[in-house]
């Protein structure tokens, strides 16, 4: 029964992937290649490439991709549902507890110390993204991609000075980069 197998495998991926994003990758690999042989290694690499080029969490992308291949549309739906089910249960409980007890002194103390740490976590992830976008590490030495640096600064201006919508800014950046390639 492929639907049940998909469901059980992706529940495990959803349940044990702490830290989001690429932390889930080895778990997905283990389930879809080693345990179930649903994908070949090449197909798995393709899946990672597709995930990098499309929006959405990698675990959801994997669930849809593998589910479609093994069980069509229903397979994809079942795998995706399995993948988010642990989150839905655990985070709903946490949300309930948070709303109920957030005014308690100890809870306030914990949250007060976590907030600055969270800013740093986002800053750290952001800095890695900026460096990956603006600096090229190909052929062993570092090189600043000037066109990307200009697009980055322009995007900052559009966001902070013009107060433009972030999604619009992202699309503008993509269009400019495409334009530069075809014009220059």
């Amino acid at each position: 029964m492929i639907y049940l197998q998909l469901f059980i495998s992706f529940i495990q991926i959803g349940l044990f992937s702490f830290g989001g994003g690429y932390a889930a990758l080895p778990l997905i690999e283990h389930q879809v290649i080693d345990v179930n042989a649903w994908l070949s290694f090449t197909e798995f690499t393709d899946l990672v490439t597709i995930s990098q080029m499309t929006p959405g969490p990698i675990a959801i992308n994997a669930a849809t991709f593998v589910g479609l291949k093994m069980g069509g549309f229903l397979g994809a739906a079942v795998a995706t549902f399995g993948c988010i089910l642990p989150s839905c249960i655990i985070v709903s409980i946490l949300a309930y507890v948070y709303m109920k007890y957030k005014n308690m002194a100890v809870m306030q103390g914990i949250l007060k110390s976590l907030r600055p740490a969270v800013v740093s976590l986002i800053a750290s992830a952001g800095l890695s993204i900026i460096i990956a976008a603006v600096i090229s590490t190909s052929q062993g030495y570092l090189e600043v991609k000037y066109d990307m640096a200009v697009i980055f600064i322009l995007a900052i201006i559009l966001l902070k000075v013009k107060k433009m919508n972030p999604v619009t800014v992202m699309v503008i950046c993509g269009v400019i980069n495409t334009g530069i390639y075809f014009i220059l």
Partner: protein, 187 residues
């Protein structure tokens, strides 16, 4: 009643729209959520947003989905959870279904590659702008401990590659000690 239905619809449409543009991992959708639900709609405040991220990060599963659950529950209860999760999951589901059909064409297309490369810079700029606002909020509180936590956590996570979960647990413990210490002192 009509008002409530409008809120569900808006929650679904906003999470759908944000999820469709979340290139590059969980923290990107967090920053987009902050822009939309804190700055634009005012449904939650800045501190609640940071709490929401801390809890999303501490639980298993994709940050985007966890963030959507917290956001949905906070703004519209259990039904809100349903609509915000549906809105977050549908875009990748639809896009992967389409892309896996045309994968070879998609992979080698130069325009797709250039758009994505340019958008990467844009994503970096969005995160930089949001982090600036958030850090300014922390600095404004004028708490030496909070500012120290912010700086030390950044050094540990970015330069020393300390595991994110460890950083969160240690900061939570600092919070417990701070509270107990303050209680003792005020007695």
């Amino acid at each position: 009643m009509e008002n409530k239905e409008n809120k569900f619809l808006k929650l679904f449409l906003c999470t759908f729209y944000l999820s469709a543009f979340t290139f590059g991992g969980g923290y990107v959708i967090i920053t987009l959520m902050k822009k939309k639900f804190v700055d634009e709609l005012g449904w939650i405040d800045n501190n609640e947003m940071l709490d929401l991220v801390a809890i999303s990060q501490s639980a298993p599963g994709p940050i985007a989905v966890n963030g959507a659950i917290m956001l949905g529950y906070k703004t519209a209860g259990w039904a809100g959870v349903f609509f915000s999760v549906l809105g977050t999951v549908l875009p990748p589901f639809i896009i992967i279904s389409i892309v896996s059909l045309f994968y070879e064409i998609f992979k080698t297309n130069i325009i797709v590659r250039l758009m994505l490369e340019g958008m990467q810079s844009g994503v970096g700029a969005v995160i930089a702008a949001v982090v600036y606002d958030m850090a300014a909020g922390i600095v404004k509180e004028k708490s030496g401990i909070s500012i120290s936590i912010m700086i030390i956590t950044f050094i540990c996570v970015y330069f020393l590659n300390v595991n994110v979960m460890i950083a969160i647990v240690v900061c939570a413990l600092i919070g417990v000690f701070r509270t107990v210490f303050n209680m003792r002192r005020s007695k």
